[in-house]
Symmetry: C2
Subunit: 148 residues, 2 copies
Amino acid sequence: MKSAREVFLQFLQRQGMTMTPQRATIVEVFLHEEGHFSPEQLYMAVNKADPAIGQATVYRTLKLLTDSGLAATLDMGDGATLYEHGYGHAHHDHLICVRCGGKTEIVDHVIEERQERIAEKHGFELTRHSMLLYGVCPRCRGKRGGSG
Amino acid sequence: MKSAREVFLQFLQRQGMTMTPQRATIVEVFLHEEGHFSPEQLYMAVNKADPAIGQATVYRTLKLLTDSGLAATLDMGDGATLYEHGYGHAHHDHLICVRCGGKTEIVDHVIEERQERIAEKHGFELTRHSMLLYGVCPRCRGKRGGSG
DNA sequence: GTAGATGCAAACGCTTTGCCCCCTG
DNA sequence: CAGGGGGCAAAGCGTTTGCATCTAC
């Protein structure tokens, strides 16, 4: 399997774009981030590596990373979009605690297969999907209901 | 089964809130809307019924409708939230055409059940979920693909 | 008379864009 | 020299909120 850097480079070249120092930095930082993170978080981490890189560039590169398949988006209902690694990671969905915001990755082949079948039945050519299960995690269920 | 109006009225009363002319108008218009619509669309329809009602009131009432179970939200990744009727309608998920934006409602009991089971396995108490399948609908597949 | 409800417009948070300079080729 | 890339800050978008007013009980 090609390295993520390689995939990104080839993606850029295919688009007639070039690998710039800023993009290289952002990709590196991106690959070192764990779990789910916001553009803002990535921006802050990128800034530690190179304070000269602006937020807009992070957003622009994040879009490229998504298009290249290196990044996957995770859309909460809160208006913000989170990102995670999307290359070399099996597809997974998320279990989200509505109280603490904690996210758990889940994989279910039965569901994946049903989704394919549903799409097929409707004549759709499936490109991607998003499944979010919201609930209260065990830890928060232990505590009493309060929001804090 | 209680009428939707009744459900909303009782919800308001339970919250110590009252049914106002504006809320009544918005509920009526809401119930007449079909399919999936944006707050903006609802606002425009409400305005035909009563031009004095402001956008903020529509948003505020939409939130109440959601809390009361009369409305269900459908979060596209585009930053906007769509609404649909949620009372007296079985839960369903959506198949969305990435090309024309068309939405098809789908129901799959196997998936619903698996979701419950997954949540259970992780100790989560499931409150709701959202499953969006993105793809290309039969009609758009017929036309030429464009940017492949 | 008190408390909630409303309309308006400004504020908000996240994301995108315009502009101009820079570097690359 | 041509053209994309980047930084900055302002604009843009959908949504929320502060405030003064008004209504209902």
